[in-house]
Point group: C2
Chain length 315, copies 2
């Protein structure tokens, strides 16, 4: 077997997910190994390097076939240099990751942030395949995002391109403070955390809702309650969808992508979130910016990260 | 003289502005001729062609030195094909402009919309010179815009890239209807028309303001009154600046440009509009997306259109 292959690494706080992709973004194999953050910077870097050697050893491919290694890492970094400034849950403060990993592995290493990488994965072989301009939301604990234009991530001037969670989209009088310190970020309402907060507020206020009986509310609980006809839960879902839809309307007349992809845990709600988002998008977007534009759910699930990371080397 | 030159045409409802640029975007000569819309489609197209012949004739350059001709046209068009679907004030409905002009002139012709072209002009040799990613607002009768990434206009999937005036930025309860039919577009508050509307509303409501004595209020009247300490006028200017600043904050975490340029008549207010816009931008943008990002007034004034149009052939 002499085909060219690409390794993608999705680095998380507890595990390192490592995959092999072919040149069309098909995932050929994937493994998970422990990150061992508690052992410090060197251990984490050694574990990443080891995971790439291990997956090749366990596969029918050879190390020579590896064209490059990409890694998706949560945090702030200099993409060109591959220098990590800060990662919230990883011992990677001020670490020249690219340089160190390239020395360890003797291959080109490219790093980028996790949300950008997920967007690239969906663009390469997921819900955005074949699309020229793609905007991808990752609706999880926070709201991440990535903008992919003709196969390339829009990094922006200071690496803040596609940071969709921090669009100041909630009007001042209804705004709450975001983890970033700013008021009214999209993340405060359309993330799982935002949905949970709104549900807890409703319960504390004494709003009539079946969520009052749930011990530790999750976003899924809120969606389940909404499906069961709970009015309070429905109001919360609508609010999350409303601001998400408004942010999409804004992007439709600025970046004007062919497609919006919604990924992350919140997107598992499917039509329950998709339908109201589409309604808001249609209401606040000029007809011409809706032409041939669709909003769909992500396809690659938890593999978007490894696939996109592998794609970093190619695209 | 054998240098390569580029012709730019800025097509307006009353006059055709035609210019010659060198390959650095320096405007070497500019002329104005009548559009004569009342004579119909053929006359307008002939007048455009004639203006390009005329400017060369009146210049020290030869027709052979012309590398291409670009035209900025208000309206909706297919950029690739150079096909005009509709122009509000010109007899150019369903006209294959590029094809017809290329036949008449024997040179490559590129067309684009006026706001995109102005942005490209500023990026080429104006306030955005040397900048990788530029977002340019044209704050005139409406609010136009253009996003230029590494010298190329971001057209978007349906030609609605950079249509900044139609970002749905005003919250529902404060929104008024835009000319496009949608509620709460940036254009309803931050254009000259929006500022005038807010001033007329204030006068009609009986708000205390010196504008009550002005017969036909212009945006400049509002700015002059604000400078003279008129509180009502100051509130109006602050509102126009507030939503403009919020739209900039949104773009700072999505497109994340190096620089924002404000052009068009409203930008003549200078610091009066720039200072509150910067304040709002700083308040609603995460620190990292403010790094090395500035907001400045456009440099090329009314020549941005011809210069950008000339640049269409090159960039």
């Amino acid at each position: 077997m002499s085909e060219q292959i690409y390794i993608g690494v999705d680095l998380g706080g507890t595990s390192i997910k490592t995959g092999i992709c072919d040149q069309n973004g098909q995932l050929l194999k994937v493994i998970e190994t422990p990150t061992q953050t508690e052992l410090g910077t060197d251990a984490v870097l050694n574990n990443i390097a080891a995971s790439t050697r291990l997956i090749i050893k366990e596969s029918p491919y050879s190390w020579d076939q590896v064209q490059g290694i990409g890694a998706g890492v949560p945090g702030f970094m200099d993409f060109e240099e591959g220098f990590m400034h800060l990662s919230p849950n990883l011992p990677l403060t001020n670490v020249p990751m690219k340089k160190i990993l390239e020395e360890k592995l003797g291959k080109t290493v490219v790093i980028n942030n996790d949300a950008n990488v997920a967007a690239l994965g969906e663009a390469w072989s997921g819900a955005g395949k074949g699309v020229n301009i793609l905007v991808c939301y990752t609706l999880g604990t926070g709201v991440g995002g990535g903008i992919v234009i003709h196969g390339k991530i829009l990094q922006g001037s200071s690496g803040m391109g596609g940071e969709l969670g921090h669009m100041a989209i909630v009007p001042d009088l209804e705004a709450t403070q975001c983890g970033c310190g700013q008021m009214g970020c999209l993340e405060t309402v359309s993330s799982a955390t935002g949905i949970i907060r709104m549900a807890k507020d409703a319960v504390e206020r004494g709003d009539r809702t079946m969520l009052v009986d749930v011990v530790s509310i999750t976003a899924k609980d809120v969606f389940d309650a909404a499906k069961a006809g709970d009015e309070t839960a429905n109001r919360i879902v609508k609010r999350a969808a409303y601001y998400l839809g408004k942010s999409i309307a804004t992007l439709a007349v600025t970046v004007n992508p062919d497609r919006f992809v919604l990924g992350g845990g919140v997107s598992n709600a499917g039509d329950l979130i998709l339908n109201p988002v589409r309604e808001v998008f249609q209401k606040f977007t000029p007809a011409k910016a809706q032409e041939n534009v669709d909003i769909v759910i992500a396809k690659l699930g938890n593999n978007a990260g490894v696939i996109g990371a592998a794609g970093l080397c190619l695209r």
